[in-house]
């Protein structure tokens, strides 16, 4: 099976997919361009956070129609301020208007990939040292509560996606002193153990339910 994956956000999301997809399906090997896809390959195209993601989707469908060895087009997108259902409807409406010869799967990262990353409960120490993390944990404890239900943090004027990214950064800094998380380089999230913890959280609780989109898209 060959897949072409579109990732909306900063280049960090692309790196994450490059590492996590073979953890879901070890038969898949990454190639850096759609034209290099041969057998059991996947290629990823990131929007880089620039505007015009719908144009990128349209061009990707054209590419899939041109390269007849692509079996599935996977489109990943953050729900951001919309609900999961609203974002799914928006995306489905858009792609249904364009004819595509391959199967299309949509991944709604509800509401961003940091939400899934917060699903790794081991990164939140039971007794954090960071004052900010203590505040965040007191406000909403992602160790015990569903990270997908994280509310905005009005005290710091953060919407929920900004809050998730900042929560994750403080958690990782608190747990591993020399570890800094930035959106463009999510190095700490690439380790197989990290992925495994997120997967366990999804499987063992009813949390981060949008992660099922990710798992099913690559099987």
């Amino acid at each position: 099976m060959n897949l072409y994956i579109l990732v909306e956000g900063e280049m960090g999301a692309q790196k994450l997919y490059q590492h996590w997809v073979p953890m879901v399906n070890p038969n898949l090997a990454y190639v850096p361009h759609i034209s290099l896809i041969e057998k059991d390959n996947f290629s990823i195209l990131g929007g880089g956070g620039y505007p015009g993601y719908f144009d990128i989707i349209s061009s990707a469908i054209e590419d899939v129609n041109l390269h007849d060895n692509v079996d599935r087009l996977v489109i990943s997108v953050d729900s951001e301020d919309l609900s999961y259902e609203e974002k799914l409807e928006e995306m489905t409406d858009y792609v249904s208007k364009i004819s595509c010869r391959a199967d299309i799967r949509i991944i709604i990262q509800h509401f961003c990939f940091e939400t899934w990353a917060l699903g790794n409960w081991t990164i939140i120490r039971p007794h954090p040292q960071s004052l900010k993390l203590i505040q965040y944990k007191g406000f909403y404890n992602v160790r015990s509560e569903d990270p997908e239900l994280l509310p905005p943090y009005d005290l710091d004027e953060l919407n929920r996606a900004q809050f998730a990214a900042k929560y994750l950064r403080h958690a990782l800094n608190d747990k591993y002193r020399n570890l800094t998380y930035i959106k463009n380089n999510p190095k700490s999230l690439l380790h197989p153990k990290y992925y495994q913890r997120v997967k366990e959280r999804f499987e063992q609780t009813n949390h981060i339910s949008s992660f099922s989109d990710f798992l099913s898209a690559f099987n």
């Binding site: 280049m11 692309q14 361009h33 195209l45 990131g46 929007g47 061009s59 990707a60 054209e62 590419d63």
Partner: protein
């Protein structure tokens, strides 16, 4: 004048080494921050200054093949500092080509100096052989070629000086009225106000063209005119021209030094492009787009492609619009591992990128050579 291929090291052996790259008429250097784009431009400029400026000596290595006035040369030079920290030429070779045949013009080390097969007496190692032999018929075109490398800086005091008040030397005006040579203006070192004044007096058609293109880029400008410093209440002896504009609905002249940064950049580039020497020069532009609005950015690619000049452009950019409007074949992608800067020529990507409907910029920011720009 055009550089055909280039390889260089800046400074000592621990500094950056730029592996060989081929250059065309328009060259867009792209790469992540820190990959070495600006330093690449600096090495090109410094290589030329090593020859043309007696007060400057640069340490490094250069291997440049260039073409000027139907002559093709290859110049290879290595310089270093001696025990007393004085710069000296370690080795140098100049080759010329006739009917694809290679002719060694200069072969030099600190032990010997051969020019066109003949031994020369010991000459100063603090100057390149091109500087020393610039009046020799065989070397003259090469020297002249290296005087035709221009770097346009868009930041700091060098940029601000372009719009400051400058007194125009009468002797220069007299000389150029007689010579009517744009090359004299190109080499003059005058700032933008003075250059525009000279153009208005000696090359009126070019001046009108620049004003026309400037107003077309900024349609809110109703009129552009050359005034004097006195019109702005500043008293200087001699001619101190001030380029000024009027905006629609505002009845006041605005002097060049009060223009927005983008308007100054556009005017500077327009002026440069129209006075580039007819037989061409190498024009280096580093990150033109910084702090510019869409109108000033959109102007740039078209002005490069439409410029009626034989000149060569070597530019750096991070901007999607500029990158997207320069054909992939004209890109040079730089990627640094330690102190070694590798390049990928755009022609290597052209075929692959052509197989996708995605915009070239989107494909570039997904290319591992670009994404992992610094290892």
């Amino acid at each position: 004048m055009r550089i055909l291929s280039y390889e260089a090291s800046s400074g000592s052996e621990d500094d950056l080494h730029f592996l060989k790259m081929d250059l065309g008429k328009i060259n867009l250097i792209v790469g992540n921050s820190g990959a070495g784009k600006t330093r690449l431009l600096n090495t090109i400029f410094n290589g030329a200054r090593l020859v043309t400026r007696k007060d400057k000596f640069y340490i490094g290595f250069w291997d440049i093949t260039l073409e000027h006035d139907s002559n093709k040369y290859r110049w290879i030079i290595k310089t270093s500092k001696d025990e007393e920290e004085v710069g000296k030429v370690v080795e140098e070779r100049i080759l010329s080509y006739k009917d694809e045949k290679e002719i060694v013009l200069v072969d030099r080390t600190d032990e010997y100096f051969l020019f066109n097969g003949d031994d020369l007496p010991k000459l100063s190692l603090s100057e390149s052989s091109i500087t020393l032999l610039q009046d020799e018929k065989l070397i003259k075109p090469l020297y002249e070629a290296l005087t035709l490398i221009m770097r346009r800086n868009f930041s700091g005091s060098v940029f601000e000086e372009q719009s400051s008040y400058q007194s125009l030397p009468q002797s220069f005006l007299k000389k150029i009225r007689k010579s009517k040579s744009l090359k004299d203006l190109f080499h003059s070192g005058l700032n933008l106000n003075c250059k525009l004044y000279v153009l208005s007096k000696v090359f009126k058609d070019i001046y009108d063209k620049i004003c026309g293109e400037f107003i077309a880029t900024f349609p809110f400008v109703s009129e552009a005119k050359l005034l004097n410093a006195e019109d702005f209440g500043i008293s200087f002896p001699g001619i101190v021209p001030v380029f000024a504009l009027k905006e629609k609905y505002i009845n006041k002249w605005i002097a060049l030094n009060e223009f927005s940064s983008g308007m100054k950049k556009v005017l500077l580039i327009l002026c440069d492009i129209h006075i580039l020497p007819e037989d061409g020069c190498v024009y280096l532009i580093d990150e033109y787009e910084n702090s510019l609005g869409v109108n000033a950015i959109n102007f740039f690619p078209s002005v490069l492609f439409e410029a009626e000049t034989k000149s060569q452009f070597i530019i750096t950019s991070h901007h999607p619009y500029i990158i997207g409007n320069v054909p992939v074949k004209d890109w040079i992608i730089v990627h640094r591992k330690g102190n070694q800067v590798n390049v990928k020529q755009g022609v290597e990507l052209e075929d692959r990128f052509g197989k996708s409907k995605q915009k070239a910029f989107v494909q570039l920011i997904n290319d591992p050579f670009y994404v992992e720009g610094v290892e």
